[in-house]
């Protein structure tokens, strides 16, 4: 079943970047709420950040239907873990590894789940932030991003992220990067969500918009300096 049929050669409805940073009390994740159908920004209220259990949050870019399948898988995992009722709980690191196994196994069958996943959580004071790609590449870091975020947001993180930022500082940093992504990523929209996980629990904000300024100097003559552009 599914071993010969390669049904996932290309994604259909996709989400753009997801950003994640560690801060003093936990992890912050951010993404926009767009689901693109090729070059059409078709769905504008797609939630790409989900809570997993009560100490982990998951963000995904890539094929939205695969993200939904992954969320179902993880919900089953969490439920089974909860049913043991024995004082042990799967932490974010364990879920990261489980996801990695799932992604890598699908890749080996030439039937990948077309997502780049960002997973963040905190357990017993230990913060965790990591990424798993659709081919099973996985790592942890203080700040991660998927898709365009890798090229536009991570340089900003590398300059401006520091250890033990406050919540306000973290939010400000993410908003700055989200704005850059909105300006420069054609599949991004001005409607974002942020997820915050601390020892006290998980909050995912309602969608919000950022103030944009198209009068910036850089937009006045966009092709200046780019020979051959129009």
């Amino acid at each position: 079943m599914g071993s010969v049929v390669r049904c996932d050669r290309y994604p259909y409805v996709t989400g753009s970047s997801v950003l994640g940073i560690k801060y003093k009390d936990g992890i912050l994740l951010a993404s926009d709420t767009a689901g693109c159908y090729g070059s059409t920004v078709r769905y504008k209220s797609v939630e790409r950040l989900k809570r997993i259990g009560d100490n982990t949050i998951l963000g995904a870019s890539g094929e939205i239907s695969d993200f939904q399948a992954i969320t179902n898988l993880l919900d089953e995992l969490i439920t089974e873990d909860w049913m043991w009722d024995d004082g042990n709980k799967l932490g974010p690191f364990e879920i990261h590894n489980y996801l990695n196994r799932v992604m890598y196994n699908r890749r080996n069958k030439f039937d990948p789940l077309w997502n780049s996943l960002v997973l963040g959580g905190i357990k017993k004071g230990k913060k965790y932030l990591g990424m798993v790609s659709m081919i099973g590449v996985h790592f942890q870091d203080n700040h991660v991003a998927t898709g365009f975020g890798n090229h536009l947001a991570r340089p900003i993180f590398r300059d401006e992220w520091k250890e033990d930022m406050t919540l306000e500082e973290g939010v400000k940093l993410l908003e700055k990067c989200l704005l850059v992504l909105f300006y420069r990523d054609r599949s991004a929209i001005n409607k974002f969500q942020m997820a915050n996980v601390t020892e006290g629990g998980i909050t995912i904000t309602e969608p919000f918009a950022l103030k944009v300024n198209w009068e910036l100097e850089a937009f006045r003559n966009p092709t200046k300096g780019a020979e051959g552009s129009w």
Binding site: D86, G87, N88, L90, F93, E94, N97, Y98, R101
Partner: protein, 282 residues
């Protein structure tokens, strides 16, 4: 135990509501040489009486490391025990491969118990003839469990199984309230003393007993004969000290006693499991 009409098949109930084959399997555990386990807030210690089948042969191996944080001691058909330990090792490794974290010992114990139960409900199988004392760690700390051929499992503060285990149990019952606060060395000494009780007339030496320890941030390890011998020797000197302390009544540790967990199946189990069906009904 006398032969009954209803004891040929494991899948045949007796009119008294007993499965005799399962009970016979538990007899096999009682005939095996003793295994003892005890735990504190930070460590779990397992100890075994090692019997050699003849003077020429080496001792049976009864202590097995399952993973860095789990180990077992067995009593009964050690061949069955080896098969179970291979299963347990496999489960631990699989869990580690998927989650990169240690399998909580309580969950492993339930899996083993379920595996044992299957053998009590298939006409073409027989129950495992080995009892396991499982020592391990999980997020909530160190734990000691017993797995029965019946498919039952329970958690203990301290326990002993196998032949002449009642002597060890009596000693443990006297002392178990102090175990939670014991250091690793004290705990090992208690375990070795309990083995001594089971051996009764025989001289205790590193040749006829085995000890293993697992603790928080300390992987499961079977003590080498030299270390074990030094514990045995310290017992002799410690014993004299203990006697004088008891006489003068200055054993502070026992009077300052702290809890032992008070939920459900925890705590010392008294000899009831030896000759009645209560094990199966719980």
């Amino acid at each position: 135990m006398f032969r009954n009409q209803y004891d040929t098949d494991v899948t045949t109930w007796s009119p008294a509501g007993r499965l005799h084959q399962v009970e016979y399997a538990m007899e096999a555990v009682k005939q095996g040489s003793a295994a003892i386990g005890l735990r504190s807030k930070t460590h779990v210690v397992l100890a075994t009486v090692n019997k050699a089948s003849s003077e020429l042969s080496a001792h049976q191996k009864k202590l097995f490391k399952i993973d860095n944080h789990i180990g077992i001691a067995m009593a009964g058909l050690t061949a069955d025990g080896r098969v179970l330990s291979r299963y347990m090792r496999s489960e631990c490794i699989n869990h580690h491969f998927v989650f990169e974290s240690p399998l909580p010992v309580g969950r492993l114990v339930v899996q083993v118990a379920d595996k044992a139960q299957v053998c009590t409900q298939r006409s073409w199988k027989r129950p495992y003839g080995v009892g396991l004392l499982v020592a391990g760690l999980d997020e909530t700390g160190p734990h000691l469990y017993q797995n029965c051929p019946s498919g039952n499992y329970s958690e203990y503060q301290a326990f002993a199984i196998g032949s002449r285990s009642q002597a060890a149990k009596t000693y443990l019952e006297r002392k178990f309230e102090t175990f939670m606060e014991c250091t690793k060395e004290e705990l090992i000494r208690h375990a070795v003393f309990a083995v001594k009780e089971s051996l009764q007339e025989e001289e205790l030496s590193s040749g006829n007993c085995g000890v293993a320890v697992v603790g928080i941030d300390e992987p499961f390890v079977v003590l080498d004969p030299k270390t074990l011998q030094s514990y045995i020797e310290s017992l002799e000197t410690g014993k004299e000290e203990q006697q004088t302390m008891e006489e003068t009544g200055t054993d502070d540790r026992q009077s300052l006693q702290v809890q032992h967990e008070g939920t459900g199946s925890r705590g010392i189990s008294v000899g009831a499991g030896d000759d009645s069906p209560t094990d199966m009904e719980t």
